[in-house]
Symmetry: C2
Subunit: 163 residues, 2 copies
């Protein structure tokens, strides 16, 4: 899976542009990276097929859609055997409130990124779902005030583009 594909400067430019605007037309993309459309499309498809581009996603405005609460939950389990970790991971997938989740090492075992309509919905989730889930030991929550940075997942620097 972690295939360190060898990408040239043009590939890095493509990734940077598509990370900023994933719906750009191939013609526009080809102009920005400095090649013609057909080889540009071939490169994009290759990046998609090799899994370097995992997909494309529209970014939505949660408050405008009536989702006013974004919060993170740090979960500590009583037992961290493989079966228990998998069981909790599976459970996170069944909670629509949890938008993405990570298994982590450190003081906690899981980090949950939650989005809900309002505070009482979130509180109900924590009390009635999270803390009452078997094997859950500690639940620490952090309500977000606002997002202060939002770049794509991967940094694409001038260094990458020229090496």
């Amino acid at each position: 899976m972690p295939i360190k594909a060898d990408l040239d400067a043009i590939d890095w430019k493509i990734l940077r542009e598509l990370q900023r605007d994933g719906r750009m037309t191939n013609v526009e993309l080809s102009r920005r990276v400095g090649i013609s459309a057909p080889p540009c499309l071939r490169r994009v498809k290759r990046l998609e097929e090799t899994g370097i581009i995992r997909g494309y996603r529209a970014l939505l405005n949660a408050p405008a859609l009536g989702m006013d609460v974004v919060a993170f939950c740090l979960i500590g389990l009583h037992h961290q055997a493989d079966a228990e970790l998998k069981a909790f991971a599976e459970r996170t997938r069944s909670w629509p409130i949890v938008r993405d989740a990570w298994m982590v090492s450190g003081e906690s075992d899981f980090l949950l990124h939650c989005v809900t309509r309002d505070l009482s919905t979130f509180q109900s989730f924590v009390i009635e779902e999270l803390t009452s889930t078997p094997n859950v030991d500690t639940v620490r929550t952090a309500l977000t005030i606002r997002q202060v940075k939002d770049e794509g997942l991967v940094e694409i620097s001038a260094l990458n583009q020229t090496q």
Copy 2:
């Protein structure tokens, strides 16, 4: 900003589809939501112009691009006056390692989502940048083992689509 736009069932379907595949053609999208292409395109543009769709982004495979470490940092500051919060928020934007960041309430003041090439790069960042930043009190880190869930930001349920 939090304009609770009134969306009908078709709008919700559009949001769901574009959150799953933001690069879908308008013709394909119109087929999936059950209307013809022109009104579908008008709806998408309206969603973009009203800010409900904030943009589109390619999702990249970080390990395949040589970024093997994903971690979260919980930052506590000594002083939480408005000026200090803004100063730290601004500083997070200058760190390329920090991909997105949230101001939070709870035990910590900021949550940082970090992606680096390797562990030593991350450790250097924590020691040489984070802990040595003025006004930083506590730094707790959580190294991710793996992502166990990755949906879009907003839940789009059957309930939304029919109301």
